[in-house]
């Protein structure tokens, strides 16, 4: 049988202890063990970004990271972004700007944007397009996604508007 590992993680602020298979990805742990299905499997090789979560604050493709290697790590998934019913400004702007169509890429898009704005709260349109180009969307043509992220970025610095 495959070797198993004990791993402690902080997921969306809560400590969880997992006993995982060697080859188990973070995406599998989130979706199957913790029932956090907001991160999606679109390609399974880190190309599409639908599975993006923040790992120790950085946007990470959870489908190509092994949970066994993450003891002590901090993970934030889309489910941990809102404060109760208080949505994150990114979530608000994605809805308002019409950046959501089928919704399959949306969690990954929002988490990628969150990672960007955490690093660079004043990200401009160029920064946003560059960063969001790491994720695939098949529905929107990206325009409204970029606009939604821009709206949050400028919101954090109203004088730059």
């Amino acid at each position: 049988m495959m070797e198993r590992y004990n791993v402690s993680l902080k997921v969306n602020g809560e400590l969880v202890a997992l006993n995982v298979r060697a080859g188990e990805t973070l995406l599998e742990s989130l979706r199957e063990r913790l029932e956090l299905t907001g991160a999606k499997e679109g390609c399974g090789l880190g190309a599409c970004g639908s599975c993006t979560v923040l790992l120790n604050g950085l946007p990470t493709r959870s489908c190509i990271v092994m949970t066994a290697e993450l003891d002590g790590a901090e993970v934030q998934s889309i489910e941990g972004l809102a404060d109760g019913t208080d949505l994150d400004p990114l979530q608000e702007r994605f809805m308002e700007k019409g950046a959501v169509q089928c919704g399959f890429c949306t969690s990954g898009m929002i988490m990628t944007a969150k990672g960007l704005l955490n690093r660079n709260p004043k990200a401009d349109k160029g920064d946003i397009i560059r960063t969001m180009s790491s994720n695939l969307c098949r529905c929107t043509g990206y325009k409204k996604i970029v606009e939604a992220v821009e709206a949050v970025s400028s919101m954090s610095e109203p004088e730059n508007k």
Partner: protein, 759 residues
């Protein structure tokens, strides 16, 4: 009396978006049911082979395996959209016809066990000679893939209107060109998945689908179960674009496994399985001959188009016809002949696509530019001259009731400053225009119409039950927005129940651009009837003329004396007291010709109405590297009247990506029946950084039949954006590019060929 709209046309937040931004929206692969098993499919490693024997004994004995199914467990019913195209067994019976075809399914306690079990199934094959393109498949002596299709010709659509040969003889100028395009991948971000749960004689299913009723009907036929025991339930769908149109082998496999085990079964395909083993998009070769008068009037068209259909019929007759129809719906062809051949090959099955037919449509538009050039005409002028107008008929006798091609052309040209930019373009820059018109729905027999039920609940809130299907474009929200406008209550007061065969009635589904025009009309009619019931009761209660009453912001109010008002919930409660609760049905059947048949009778009214569109692309081309960039793109789409302006823009923008930018990068690449780029690294879906600056222009033609004047919301761009790019590249290079996609190697080859003087 016509009131100004309260919410119709507003940039309303989509009703489904909250669940999607919080990660709470459930897609099929997210479903977890008690005792659920994991399924995997054993697939053919041969492009064409006879199956001599399948031995599942060892797999069945593996601990953790609960069931194995093959064609022997199915009922021998083959799938086909039409009676004459039923050729796909879904679990291979005597032969396999493409690499990746479904041969057996396994259900086990977990995915790893199911995968191990696949290795324990032994299939004895006798490999047969295979063919991988239509030319080889139609050649004398080619191996026959299905007994019933002579020369491997699956479908032949033949249309002949007027006297084409005479018209060519009298034409001032005749051109003939051949264009080819590789097929694309749908690349829905959600790979295919299905959950089947059989208990007590009932089968419940969840899967990304575009029409639950047609899915349930197909499965009831294949499983030999009564239709009322098969229920397809509502679920979020991660993209469609044509990919979710038909019943899928996975549906049958999961259903059989669940029936055999009595436990829920989930089958989730990998990205690679999704690309290589589910339906994708036709390779197309189009020979286009056009005759014109000296003034640019098109007098004759002759088309010969071959579609590489892969191993089975799929939507064959429809796919073989649609590229032609969306073109004749845009332009006037007094004499036209179309020969469309869909040819069976030993490749994965090819289906319908939102951006279907780019070889044909780009080809026509690029050729039109070549003709305009020879005649010394502006490409815009030749399009305006030949564009259909309201009141005219298409070549196959569909009447245009609203719109016409002129408004989108003029509005796109104005927005893009066409006239100014076209003159004196710098070296290496080009601008091009592409046009098309789209049917809003097409004949689907008694399923062409839609029904909506509405009930007004005791607090004055409404539940609407509609067959409308949302595969990502916002149809659910659209239904709520229409209901909100009619009922005079805010969208948050309206709950929608939809796309569940047990609860909702028939609807054309999300196939044929019918959702807003047909489904929206049914919602509107149901809500209008509920409103009539409410106002009748209110008039009596308020002792006021009914004609002067309306509902606004949850209140019955007099149009002339705003002091006369009554809360909606009072009226609703009164209705309950009387034993006549407010409840209504609305249905809409488009005015189409049901005698029309894709092959036998290709004439008559195709759809209730048509949308029109014009795209303008601006490109730069690097002659050294062959790389094309699209800095700006303008798309004008006549949606009649937008129900949600933001949603229509979103459809247009997505279409620019999926057709306009995709024409630079997207293609399925093959080697002897093997798909070479089944993943999302090697298959190039455009990224945010590939996108042009976009201007969308929403053209209003206020359709007389559409709900609040609405037609479909953005598909013209999906079928003309590639033409605009190809025409712009032609304008930049002065060399026609006849091979799509317009990858750098193809651009350089076309330039070399032109230098050689044989273009």
């Amino acid at each position: 009396m016509e009131n100004e709209y309260t919410i119709l046309g507003e940039r309303m937040k989509r009703t489904d978006s909250l669940a999607k931004v919080t990660g709470a929206a459930t897609f099929t692969a997210d479903i977890k049911l008690p005792r659920m098993l994991s399924a995997k499919v054993l697939r053919s490693p041969h492009a064409h082979a006879r199956i001599l024997n399948i031995d599942t004994g060892r797999a069945e004995k593996l601990p953790g395996v609960k069931a194995v199914v093959t064609a022997a467990d199915a009922h021998g019913v083959k799938w086909g959209v039409f009676k004459y195209t039923q050729d796909h067994p879904m679990l291979a019976m005597d032969k396999v016809r493409y690499i990746g075809e479904d041969v057996a399914g396994v259900a086990a306690v977990d995915e790893e066990t199911a995968l191990r079990a696949l290795d324990l199934i032994t299939v004895e094959y006798e490999p047969l000679p295979a063919v991988f393109n239509p030319d080889d498949a139609m050649a004398e002596g080619a191996p026959l893939i299905h007994e019933e299709y002579a020369n491997n010709i699956n479908i032949h659509v033949h249309i002949d209107v007027g006297d084409v040969d005479a018209a060519f003889n009298q034409a001032h100028l005749v051109r003939e060109d051949t264009f080819e395009a590789a097929g694309e991948a749908y690349s829905t971000l959600e790979p295919y998945a299905v959950v089947a749960s059989y208990a007590n004689g009932f089968l419940d299913l969840w899967m990304p689908n575009a029409g639950p009723h047609v899915r349930a009907k197909a499965l009831s036929n294949m499983l030999k179960m009564p239709l009322n025991k098969v229920r397809v339930r509502h679920i979020n769908v991660g993209g469609h674009f044509g990919a979710r149109s038909e019943v899928s082998p996975g549906d049958l496999v999961a259903a059989l496994l669940s029936i055999k085990t009595g436990r829920p079964v989930k089958l989730a395909l990998t990205r690679e399985e999704n690309a290589a083993c589910t339906r994708q998009i036709h390779d197309i070769k189009a020979t286009i001959k056009t005759g014109v008068k000296k003034d640019g009037t098109i007098t004759a068209k002759d088309f010969r188009v071959t579609y590489d259909g892969g191993a089975y019929s799929s939507t064959g007759p429809i796919a073989t016809s649609i590229p032609y129809y969306v073109y004749e719906e845009a332009y006037r062809f007094p004499n036209v002949r179309y020969n469309g051949y869909r040819v069976i090959t030993n490749k994965g099955i090819r289906g319908m696509y939102g951006a279907h037919g780019r070889a044909f449509l780009c080809g026509n538009e690029v050729q039109l530019d070549m003709i305009a050039q020879e005649l010394g005409m502006d490409p815009m002028e030749i399009r305006l001259k030949n564009g259909l107008k309201v009141g005219e008929e298409t070549a196959t006798k569909s009447v245009i009731i609203s719109g016409g091609l002129e408004a989108p052309i003029r509005q796109a040209a104005e927005k893009a400053r066409w006239a100014k930019k076209r003159i004196g373009l710098p070296e290496g820059e080009g601008i091009g225009m592409g046009c098309v018109a789209i049917m809003c729905g097409f004949p689907m027999g008694f399923r062409s119409g839609s029904t909506c039920y509405v009930k007004i609940n005791d607090d004055g809130q409404a539940t609407i039950v509609s067959g409308i299907v949302d595969t990502g474009m916002g149809n659910e929200s659209m239904a709520v927005q229409i209901a909100s406008e009619v009922l005079g209550i805010p969208p948050e007061d309206i709950n929608l129940v939809n796309a569940d065969t047990e609860v909702t009635n028939l609807d054309p589904g999300a196939y044929s651009q019918a959702a807003s025009f047909v489904g929206g009309n049914a919602v509107k009619r149901a809500c209008e009837e509920a409103k009539r019931q409410i106002l009748t009761l209110a008039a009596a209660k308020m002792d006021h003329a009914m004609e002067d009453l309306t509902i606004k912001d949850r209140t019955i109010v007099s149009r002339t004396d705003p002091s006369k008002r009554m809360p909606l919930r009072w009226v609703v409660r009164e209705a309950f007291f009387k034993g006549e609760p407010i409840a209504a049905t609305g249905a809409y059947m488009p005015k189409i010709s049901f005698d029309r048949e894709w092959i036998k009778n290709p004439q008559g009214q195709m759809a209730g109405t048509y949308s029109f569109g014009c795209s303008i692309a601006e490109v730069t081309v690097d002659r050294e590297t062959g790389k094309i960039c699209i800095p700006r793109f303008t798309a004008a789409h006549d949606c009649g009247n937008p129900i949600n302006t933001m949603a229509v823009e979103g459809q247009i923008e997505g279409s620019i990506q999926q057709a306009g930018v995709a024409v630079l990068t997207e293609e399925n690449r093959w080697s002897d029946g093997w798909l070479l780029n089944p993943d999302l690294l090697e298959y190039k879906v455009p990224l945010a950084c590939d996108m042009p600056e976009i201007d969308t222009v929403i053209v209003r033609s206020n359709d007389p039949e559409g709900p609040f004047g609405a037609k479909e919301g953005g598909l013209t761009t999906r079928m003309n954006a590639y033409s605009a790019v190809a025409c712009a590249a032609h304008s930049a290079l002065g060399v026609p590019l006849k091979q799509l996609p317009l990858t750098p190697d193809r651009v350089l080859k076309a330039l070399d060929k032109a230098k050689g003087g044989d273009a």
